[in-house]
Amino acid sequence: MTRKVLLLGAAALAMAPMAAWADGHLSRGGSGHLNIIYWQAPSTLNPYLSGGTKEVESASLVLESLARFDDTGTMVPWLATEIPTVENGGISEDLTQITWTLQEGITWSDGTPLTAADAVFTWEYCTHPEGGCAQASYFDGVESIVAVDDLTIQVNFANPTPFPYTALVGSESPIIQAAQFADCLGARAPECTEANFGPIGTGPFVVEDFRPNDVIEFVANENFRNPDQPYFASVTFKGGGDATAAARSVLETGEFDYAWNLQIDPTILAQMEAQGNGTVVTAFGTSVERLHMNQFDPNPELGDIRSTAEAGPHPFLTNPVIGQAMSMAIDRALLVEIGYGAGGQPTCNVLPAPELYASTANDGCLVQDIAGANALLDEAGIVDTDGDGIREYEGTPLRVLYQTSTNAVRQDTQALVKQWWAEIGIDAELRNIDASVFFGGDPASPDTFQKFYADVEMYTNNFAGVDPQAYMANWACDEIPSPATQWQGSNIQRFCSEDYDALIEEMAATADLERRGEIARMQNDMLIQSYSIIPLVHRGGVSAHANSLGGIRMSDWDSELWNIAEWYRIPE
């Protein structure tokens, strides 16, 4: 696009408000002030120092990347001119190199031009061995990033990479300004408080005041590339409180315009929405609330070897029939109705999206069938032999310890599932663990989800972006957590199959999208049919915005605020 066209476009855009919108709310700053509430407040604005969603999303107002995902999960060029592909020559034939071209004329908010050197610096910053970069995985496999000229960025991979859109793509790995962070490499990163709290970016807003874990004040970026945007002149980004309070401040008191992550009882949310001040919006990504069935024996009597290969297989959960019965007994639709509302859909897949990868082979689980589950167990000879209401399998009563993190919805789910399992003769003891312990990797704590000192555990996992290759590789045999690996590893339920590992290898070498989809579906079905993992709910993000706020296109594939430059105040 030449400058002339741009100018013409700008002129056209500038004319439009005059005609249609006399009050000029679709001009830079014309919509006034925007109030956003995130009940978990951001602790820094440097997403490389903290990988939390709240930090990444708040920083996305300021920092941008080469390409982003829109609300349908489609990749759109952002700072780059187009998405490089093999067809347009942006990706080399051997899949080891991708070349991005920056749009011309983009400047940082301080007026200096954005160059390829900034992208190279970003890579150096995040891959510095002493930096502890939270987004380092986005640069996995990247051998080097080279600035060919001021506008051309070449990313070189060590191995053929069928999906190379990781480094500098999406809100998690934005480009930071080399000039500002030059002295902040490695161990010096924490000293740059000023830079971390007020990064200079190319985005629509500029940080005016940052108070960690409390509030951020943004103002419109005078040097933003689209002269009409952002439509809002300033943004207050408040944190603190809880989800109910955040929903209340948008839907009931109207003090705020946008509230994020409203994980509250759907009935309450619907009642708040009914007051007519605001609208609840949802977006689905890849998050699935699931049950992991421990394939190793977690019996506490085994001491330190429990839940490891040395403990031996689980006395009954390795039998798919039992897992299948447990899955059939669950009424997923009811779980959604009670705990998730619009923010959830029943699912039978661990990989529910994007559409290309979503299998339909297991959809039978969507309907609860307690009688069928009972019949299945009876048929398999797993019956109650001692009359205590609990079935026995080879002499072992089917009693499970069912753990999850502390969270109202999860505890409600636990209570319901426990009841359903009781109806098919399986007894569950419930346990909930503080989230900071459960998801914490402290090898000394017995309660981490990796250690899995229980029979069944429940939580949500997902993958960032749209490519499931790395995610599906989580269930490789050598990903099983064990003391030897400091309990690190993502194969939580300790599933192990040679066939599955072969599919992982095939996936890593396949570039053809159709075939990749096929492999991913096969992997998904293999996992589900082993009944070592029972998917429950496909979870989406739930947010709410005031009815006077327009232009929102909520996405779960990128930051929810990815198109905030286009948000505007609807005139009364």
Binding site: G132, N196, R211, P212, D214, G240, G241, T253, A435
Partner: protein, 338 residues
């Protein structure tokens, strides 16, 4: 008394060192992890690197002494620099400040940033609590079993027995949602510069201050009443009346002064808690003061913040307990410590 005070102050140093070590051990031992709140999409190797860069894996003793040195030496220097514009502190370089795990910024800056709203809200509520509680306690005791006493007892026990997370939400639903009189979210960036902005500040403070004040008043008024009752029965009261002193003098000078000992204890004991903030009330009204800083730090396994806030808390507790002990001597000259 002076010797006693000096001796107690000197004794406070080893006490505080010991307390800080115990707190450190407890905070370190507790099984929370600074990377726990990150999304699960961040792989374990990266988490390990983050932990490594934070210095979480150093031996506990090393970490403790590093922290202690910064706490008692470097940080006070920075504070002096900050206040008087001097430059006596060592320049900023790795390991010259206590750095929070979550924000990667100096803990002291965070605390200073949180202080104003905490003092405004929690401090005012404490003063309001005392102002309500003292007359309430005195009159309740003097007119024991009168309607006033019964009502006072009922309201103060109600205030004490209903948790602030409930009263807070109740107030919000009534005054912010239904009546739309008051804001439900506290604006920490608000600056008071003229009458109008003062009104805004006043409005946003009413609810949290009343919720906390009610709770404080309930507690203090119970002690005040009980202690007054004890003293009203004493012989010296009869003597004072027999001497022909006015009823006001008897009650407000003689009885009150002698009744203050347990009340002073309770008031002094809770002053450090003012600086500690109020975890639940701050959360309900989004005040984001010290209490919220502490609870977020605990949830995020942010050891330096938890440790530093707790230590400052400990210093205040030791100081105010000393103050209470000195006040005992003032209120009752017969109490001697030497």
């Amino acid at each position: 008394m002076l010797t006693y005070t000096i001796r107690r102050l000197i004794l406070a140093i080893p006490t505080l060192l010991f307390i800080s070590f115990i707190i450190f051990i407890i905070v370190k031992l507790s099984p929370s992890d600074p990377t726990a709140n990150l999304p699960l999409t961040i792989p374990p190797e990266v988490r390990e690197q983050i932990r490594e860069s934070l210095g979480v894996n150093d031996p506990i003793i090393v970490q403790y002494f590093k922290w202690l040195k910064l706490m008692v030496w470097d940080e006070p220097l920075h504070l002096i620099d900050n206040w008087f514009g001097t430059e006596i502190a060592p320049p900023n370089e790795p390991g010259s400040r206590i750095i929070s795990y979550q924000t990667r910024s100096p803990v002291m800056d965070l605390i200073m940033q949180r202080m104003p709203q905490t003092l405004w809200v929690v401090g005012t509520s404490y003063i309001v609590g005392i102002i309500i509680a003292l007359p309430l306690g005195i009159i309740s005791a003097y007119k024991q079993y009168s309607i006033f006493d019964q009502l006072g007892t009922f309201i103060s026990m109600l205030g004490f027995s209903v948790p602030t997370f409930f009263t807070g939400v109740l107030f919000i639903v009534i005054f912010a949602v239904n009546l739309q009189w008051l804001p439900s979210v506290y604006d920490t960036t608000h600056v008071v510069e003229d009458w109008d902005s003062f009104v805004v500040q006043f409005k946003q403070m009413i609810m949290p201050v009343m919720v906390l004040g009610l709770f404080n008043a309930a507690q203090i008024s119970r002690y005040m009443r009980a202690s007054m009752l004890d003293n009203l029965n004493q012989d010296y009261v009869r003597t004072a009346r027999a001497k022909g002193l006015g009823e006001g003098t008897v009650v407000l000078v003689h009885v009150l002064r002698n009744s203050m000992i347990p009340v002073v204890t309770v008031i002094a004991l809770n002053v450090p808690a003012v600086f500690g903030g109020a975890i639940i009330t701050e959360q309900v009204f989004k005040v984001n003061g010290i209490g919220q800083l502490l609870i977020i730090a605990i949830q995020a396994g942010d050891v330096p913040v938890v440790q530093t806030v707790s230590f400052i808390f400990a210093v205040l507790i030791v100081l105010f307990n000393l103050l209470a002990d000195i006040l005992y001597g003032v209120l009752d000259p017969r109490i001697r410590y030497d």
